[in-house]
């Protein structure tokens, strides 16, 4: 497999603060790569490095085998970027947003018009062609951002939190679209705070915190290695439960108001604890990427 992105030892400092601290990863052609991490972990900073917006303090990035420092114009012509903030042009209509953007890529006006029509229909924005950006809902804005990122028929799509703030309908719709794009051979790098989204879309993902990669792997591998298969959540602060957790040989987390047990075996392995500590309502469920994320990055709020 050839790598579309190869990042080696990325470091980015803002003054004395290190936002990205020695990050290395590869994104294979045709795969979906997830960049996960709490607020302030350095995801957006990493993405800005990848499309040549932020110069590196240290390290090396190649995209399509080209060094970003030397070839950023060439690289940017072949990628589509959907930034975290809404950067649509409020002075232009929906369709003009696409056409003017196509101009930045020096696309032929006829080809751009055809492509814009295709994308507006692909993202169900036909009816809003003449609308102003201000008149769009949050979901439509994200869809238009995505449509705009695709105007130049990119080989690599970089998405910074494409579904933040969307309702479940819009999110599922966007997932479908992304799956379709992936099937068509597009390489995608995305960040998200929705673990379900990452588990569903990503072939490989990394979890970063404080600018460092904590783990890297496929969603299934990460869940298996860091959370197991089944999870039992026991409410309350009963000290006996806590002692049991420590002595059970299972992986566990002791929270303020909850004890969480993780099991690599089947549901039955949690039966003992279940019978002893929660005759009534206890939650047994399958381990998820969210468990991995919380176990690795902690449960404290980020500033």
């Amino acid at each position: 497999m050839n790598a579309v992105i190869e990042a080696v030892g990325l470091r980015k400092c803002f003054g004395t603060f290190t936002a990205v601290d020695g990050v290395s990863f590869r994104v294979e052609a045709g795969s979906v790569f997830g960049l996960l991490g709490p607020n302030g972990a350095g995801k957006t900073t990493t993405i800005r490095i990848l499309y040549g917006f932020s110069p590196l303090t240290e390290g090396r990035v190649t995209v399509f085998g080209l060094d970003i420092a030397a070839h950023h114009r060439e690289i940017k012509a072949r990628i589509g970027v959907c930034q975290q903030d809404n950067t649509l042009d409020p002075d232009l209509s929906v369709e003009q947003n696409l056409l003017v953007f196509a101009g930045y890529f020096l696309m032929d006006a006829k080809i751009a018009a055809g492509r814009a029509r295709e994308l507006l229909s692909f993202f169900a924005l036909d009816g809003k062609r003449k609308a102003k950006v201000m008149e769009l809902s949050g979901g439509m804005i994200r869809r238009l951002m995505l449509a705009r990122a695709l105007i130049n028929s990119p080989e690599l799509l970089i998405l910074d939190e494409p579904t933040t703030g969307l309702d479940p309908q819009s999110r599922h719709q966007l997932w479908d679209k992304l799956t379709e794009l992936k099937a068509a051979g597009l390489t995608i790098l995305l960040t998200t705070h929705y673990m379900e989204e990452a588990a569903r879309l990503c072939d490989t993902l990394v979890i970063v915190d404080h600018g460092k990669i904590l783990v890297q792997g496929s969603p299934a591998e990460l869940i298996r290695d860091h959370a197991g298969r089944f999870v039992l959540e026991i409410e309350g602060r009963d000290p006996q439960t806590r002692r049991f957790a420590k002595e059970s040989g299972l992986r566990y987390d002791l929270l303020e108001q909850r004890v969480i047990l993780y099991s690599d075996g089947d549901e039955a392995s949690l039966e003992e604890a279940r019978r002893a500590f929660c005759p009534a309502a206890c939650l047994t469920r399958q381990a998820s990427l969210e468990d991995v994320f919380l176990r690795l990055t902690g449960r404290e709020l980020r500033e």
Binding site: V81, D85, T87, G103, Y104
Partner: protein, 261 residues
């Protein structure tokens, strides 16, 4: 990427984006440059002119209307282009994140900024034609010299657009633009020979006025409108070109420092 690789004709696309937005409400955009000179020419030209009649300018008596008309063209150029690369560019850069979007495409920062500056100069160019029409209606423009006013206005527009972009590169907030407005633009408007010949000022003030770009733009346009073109005009032209080159370099540096992080 080396400095040469950062410039290309692609900046025209940034310029074109602004033109498209401008054309959406061109009737509204045409109003200020049309109405303002009408107000000034009525108030000063007709009102004050009936008292002043003529002013001495470079050894000749020039009727007051013909004297201030070129000054109004020059000041329209200054307001239009300076406003565009300060308030308007700042809104695009800071609030609308238009530059961020552009910088995710093959456009470089240099092209974005040059596109904005050339657009500011274009607005000044359009305004100069509109004001020229008004002035001509009042009888204050002489052919064929007046035909050269728009290209000169474009150069003047570049100068003030570059100056504006320097401030945009360093201003912490949009309110701070009031500072250069009151410290530079308004005094220039009043004391650069728009409304009265500089000979009437104390020597030091006249000298101070003569180092401002508006003085040189005003005298250039005045020479053209009065149908003459002395050696001073070439000096003014050279001054404006040099000012533009310096301000452009400074503004690119400031914007690079501001946006590349």
């Amino acid at each position: 990427m080396n400095a040469r690789g950062r410039f290309s004709m692609r900046f025209v696309q940034v310029w074109r984006r602004n033109l498209i937005v401008y054309k959406r409400i061109w009737k509204v955009n045409f109003l200020p440059p049309m109405l303002e000179p009408i107000f000034y020419l009525t108030a000063f030209g007709l009102g004050l002119g009936s008292l002043v009649k003529t002013v001495p300018y470079q050894g000749e008596q020039v009727d007051y209307m013909s004297f201030i008309a070129p000054g109004l063209i020059a000041s329209a150029v200054m307001w239009q282009s300076f406003f565009e690369t300060t308030f308007a560019s700042f809104v695009r850069m800071f609030y609308q994140k238009t530059f961020d979007a552009m910088l995710s495409t093959p456009l470089t920062l240099e092209e974005v900024i040059i596109g904005e500056i050339v657009w500011g100069a274009t607005k000044a160019f359009i305004a100069s034609i509109l004001v020229l029409c008004v002035v001509a209606a009042f009888g204050g423009a002489h052919l064929p010299g007046a035909l050269l006013v728009p290209p000169v206005a474009f150069l003047g527009g570049l100068a003030f657009a570059c100056a504006g972009m320097c401030f945009t590169g360093v201003t912490p907030s949009i309110d701070m633009f009031n500072l250069p407005m009151f410290l530079f633009i308004t005094p220039m408007f009043l004391f650069s020979g728009t409304f009265f010949p500089l000979d009437n000022l104390p020597a030091w003030a006249g000298l101070a006025a003569k180092i401002t770009p508006l003085y040189h733009l005003t005298s250039l346009i005045r020479e053209l409108c009065l149908g003459r073109l002395g050696a001073d005009a070439w000096l003014s032209l050279a001054y404006l070109a040099a000012f533009t080159a310096l301000a452009a370099a400074l503004s690119l540096r400031a914007m690079r420092r501001r946006l590349v992080r």
